[in-house]
Symmetry: C2
Subunit: 344 residues, 2 copies
């Protein structure tokens, strides 16, 4: 419901002028080139795939050749997207005018795809991860990096629509919507800003749907995944008046449910969603004496400090580590650290 002038930069960037220059430079490089390879980071997520596909469709509409390169292919969650079946895992000896790194800050993050960049005339990096831009790359790259954006797709929407006057077709809208929904927990994480929502509104008015993207990305749990979630929720415990919540998945659970540790990725998020929980911990018995631990915090608690004590790491709100010990011992060791630290 807010009118917006053209050419207004939607994010609070350090310097409006510098930013405008970067965007114009990149728009000009794109306009003056013919062939593009768009590479995403290893193990790509919907933001990487959706943004890269949108760039390739946008460039195609301008009469350019554009190829999306993902060395690890396409995750299940993105198979529904227009163009997903055209994404390649390698480019052989093909040569390109421009290499675009999408949703990553440097060539190191795109793995084997970096080989396709050896002969390009220009490198463009479009990303929203803070601090990932790597000054050690010997080759000059043109940067469009906006840490304030919830998803790389926000930046791509701005570049294509507002700067290059590319028509956002329904296909492109759906690609960008998947990207935004994927990096914002379907518009519910704290990274969502009014720019994110305005972009989502624009995409919806052009035929995309947050419900479609959320269903494809988040409602695709396997039965094994659901049963493992059930096992973890059944075994939930709490302490410190409910501020500390934890649970476990045992080797037996994995056998009974038929899943693997990759099916347990998001379970700890459901633990930290319990009323009153400040810190949540999920223990997974990977081998007889090897326990993988995920920690989450809500509010001010910083759990990466705890993880670091056990050789792990992560962010303040989400961290992990692996403990080489039997499950009961691993639980005791880690929880007593958490208790001591929460009570201090």
């Amino acid at each position: 419901m807010r009118a917006k002038k053209n050419n207004l930069i939607p994010w609070q960037v350090d310097s409006q002028e510098e930013f405008r220059k970067s965007v114009e430079k990149i728009a000009n490089i794109i306009k003056g080139s013919e062939s593009f390879v768009i590479a995403v980071h290893e193990r790509p997520d919907p933001d990487a795939i959706g943004s890269a596909l949108a760039i390739s469709y946008g460039l195609s509409s301008l009469g350019k050749n554009a190829l999306v390169l993902s060395v690890d292919g396409v995750p299940d969650t993105c198979e529904y997207l227009p163009g997903a079946d055209k994404i390649v895992k390698g480019v052989g000896d093909s040569r390109f005018d421009v290499g675009i790194v999408c949703d990553a800050g440097n060539l190191g993050r795109i793995g084997g795809a970096a080989a396709a960049f050896e002969n390009v005339k220009n490198i463009v990096i479009i990303d929203h991860h803070p601090g990932e831009v790597n000054g050690n790359d010997s080759r000059k790259a043109f940067l469009l990096v906006v840490p304030q954006a919830a998803a790389t797709a926000e930046i791509v929407a701005y570049l294509l629509k507002d700067q290059m006057q590319v028509e956002i077709t329904r296909d492109i809208a759906r690609q960008l919507m998947a990207a935004i929904v994927g990096d914002t927990g379907a518009l519910r994480f704290a990274n969502v800003t009014s720019v994110t929502l305005e972009t989502a509104a624009m995409l919806t008015s052009l035929g995309a749907s947050p419900a479609e993207a959320a269903s494809e990305i988040y409602e695709n749990r396997s039965i094994a995944n659901v049963k493992l979630l059930g096992a973890a929720l059944t075994a939930i415990s709490s302490d410190l008046g409910g501020k500390l919540v934890w649970s476990r998945i045992t080797l037996q659970d994995f056998e009974r449910c038929g899943g693997t540790d990759s099916d347990t990725d998001s379970i700890v998020n459901q633990l930290v969603a319990v009323k009153g929980a400040q810190v949540a911990v999920l223990f997974r018995e990977i081998e007889k004496n090897k326990v993988r631990v995920s920690l989450r915090s809500k509010g001010s608690a910083e759990v990466n400090g705890i993880a670091a004590k056990f050789g792990g790491g992560g962010h303040a709100a989400a961290a992990g580590c692996t403990i080489e010990a039997p499950l009961p011992e691993a639980e005791m060791l880690l929880l007593s650290e958490v208790r001591a630290w929460m009570e201090s």
Copy 2:
């Protein structure tokens, strides 16, 4: 990213002119009156409470007296909202110029609160539920009913901001955001339109946060609720190549987990989120020979037909019924109906 002219009606209403007249009429009634009672439906949800609070704050800023009346009080999910502690369960003998029914289509839906409307000069109904407006009410009411709106809060935002030039303060923005998040599954249900997202963007730019609302409304599960969810997910079964998914919560589960049936409300949604599921059914053993059944469908299947066969009802995508039989028998009866119908 779309500029919007003032006074443009954001929804596809039947007649722009009729709608504009209704809105102006209601704005004029409000401007010409001094005291207001704003009543919400029984067992109110965040859309009812958040919208009613926003109206009351908006009217107060215009120098009017406004009281929010909820005969069932305030749900836990809304306790964090500014003004929630001022909501009353009754008004005694107080008299008001205008009675506003918020998030319901008729006086029948507000239960005992209807008594407060007996002496009002005007009745205004602000709602987005289709087909709820009751022609049997003997008293004339002024209607602002928009079935295309995902939440009543969308309509309230339009009325206050665009029509009455009320300043949307951070408090009002948070109230309206809770309302929108509550009726859209945190912006991920199919009812979300570009208007919903534009409204959410505007509210976010004024200090509200979808993340805050989602956390307060959806991340407040009790430990009992989590354990019951765990029990249901552990007992999950599937058939017809995964298209039919179901589970159960037994009397034993309720005893062991310490929860009640009201803790199981949203569990069936997690069943229908399984990959490939078209229809999901949750059976709850309420008494020895009484089983409550919730049905959900994804895609084209209409489950209210099945529920109707057992004396229940609901919508195409969400329905329910109660079967007076032991749990295994109830499961057999209902699932054989679902199978026959899905295979036909």
